[in-house]
């Protein structure tokens, strides 16, 4: 048991030692996993899950001060994280811009995860409002993480506009449906040279690994960890999946073939009989 634990610690150490640096807006990060902070059964579990995920960036929402709530949410999560505030729940450019400005004032960051949804049922992003909001917020010196649909042209346009990170979904927020249109994701990765994180819809660690194998720069997730039976363990699984997928991508995946390609030579086998 002790040997096993030691081996595990060594593997962990090895994983952490070999991680490449990710640069976002001039800041260095080791983790390519951004974690949401919503839906956890309690704050202790949230903190343990964030720790276990290895994430360095966490997302936050901006909401009215609740006078019935005794404590401030931010005081209850560890201070080591870089905050990425979002505009969750915004339907219009006007709402999103004000929320971004309030976030900047509150958290003293010009980072904003720009979310503009089209309706309350499917929560799919509104590309028109998003694009117009991006234009305005870039003028106001925000660094935008643009949450968008998996439309390659839109992703490219957002990148060209100057978004810091473009964040296409793989399926609707919280659905856990995983990758629905891998072909679009392939095109997005081919068309966009900048940072692309996949956001929303991830259900299981293999989804995260697959996304990373495709060469995306990172993954943002929340529900798949927070709503799992054991969030702390799932957070770790997601961390390992992201690392594994990234390492696989960097190692150069083999091309797919419709026919078998033998790995063991037939030469020297004992004869056909």
């Amino acid at each position: 048991m002790i040997k096993l634990k030691l081996f595990y610690l060594l593997v962990e150490d090895d994983l952490n030692m070999n991680l490449e640096t990710l640069l976002i807006d001039g800041k260095k990060f080791q983790s390519r996993l951004i974690m949401g902070t919503a839906l956890y059964p309690n704050l202790d579990l949230l903190n343990r899950s964030l720790e276990s995920s290895g994430a360095e960036i966490v997302t936050l929402a901006i909401r009215r001060l609740d006078i019935t709530n005794k404590s401030n949410f931010l005081d209850q999560i560890k201070r080591k994280y870089t905050y990425l505030p979002n505009t969750a729940g915004c339907f219009t450019k006007k709402e999103a811009i004000l929320t971004a400005e309030l976030a900047r004032e509150s958290l003293e960051t010009n980072w904003i995860k720009l979310e503009l949804i089209s309706d309350e049922e499917i929560l799919l992003p509104d590309p028109i409002e998003l694009f117009e909001s991006c234009k305005e917020l870039i003028k106001k010196k925000f660094k935008i993480f643009a949450y968008c649909s998996d439309d390659p042209i839109l992703c490219k346009r957002l990148e060209d506009l100057g978004c810091e990170v473009v964040m296409p979904l793989v399926s609707p927020i919280g659905s856990g449906l995983g990758i629905r249109n891998e072909h679009n994701l392939e095109i997005i990765r081919r068309m966009c040279n900048g940072k692309i994180f996949v956001d929303a819809g991830i259900g299981k660690p293999s989804d995260a690994a697959r996304i990373m194998e495709m060469g995306f720069d990172g993954v943002l997730l929340n529900s798949s960890v927070a709503r799992s039976l054991d969030p702390e363990k799932m957070a770790k699984a997601m961390k390992l999946a992201v690392i594994s997928g990234r390492e696989g991508y960097k190692s150069g995946l083999i091309e797919k073939s419709k026919l078998a390609i033998k790995s063991t030579t037939f030469k020297g086998k004992i004869s056909n009989f």
């Binding site: 949401g36 901006i62 001060l65 006078i67 004032e105």
Partner: protein
């Protein structure tokens, strides 16, 4: 300062303030004190326009103004 009570709209609810012509800073201070809250990390908008903390004292508030006080919260 006059002691006539006045009603303001803060975060969608009525808030009664004793000051007759408060500036934003006074109003926020009274609101937070009455609700035993600290001003750390709060941001404020008046009539859907951000008012930076450095400008609270200069910002006059009138009866019909809509005040929003926000904080970071859990989010995905």
């Amino acid at each position: 300062m006059s002691e006539t009570k006045k009603i303001f709209l803060i975060n969608g609810s009525s808030f009664v303030c004793k000051l007759k012509n408060p500036n934003l800073n006074d109003l926020i201070e009274i609101f937070l004190t009455e609700n035993k809250k600290l001003s750390t990390k709060i941001a404020v908008a008046v009539n859907n326009i951000l008012v930076e903390r450095s400008k609270w004292k200069k910002k006059k508030i009138s009866f019909h103004d809509k005040i929003e006080i926000v904080l970071p919260f859990s989010g995905g």
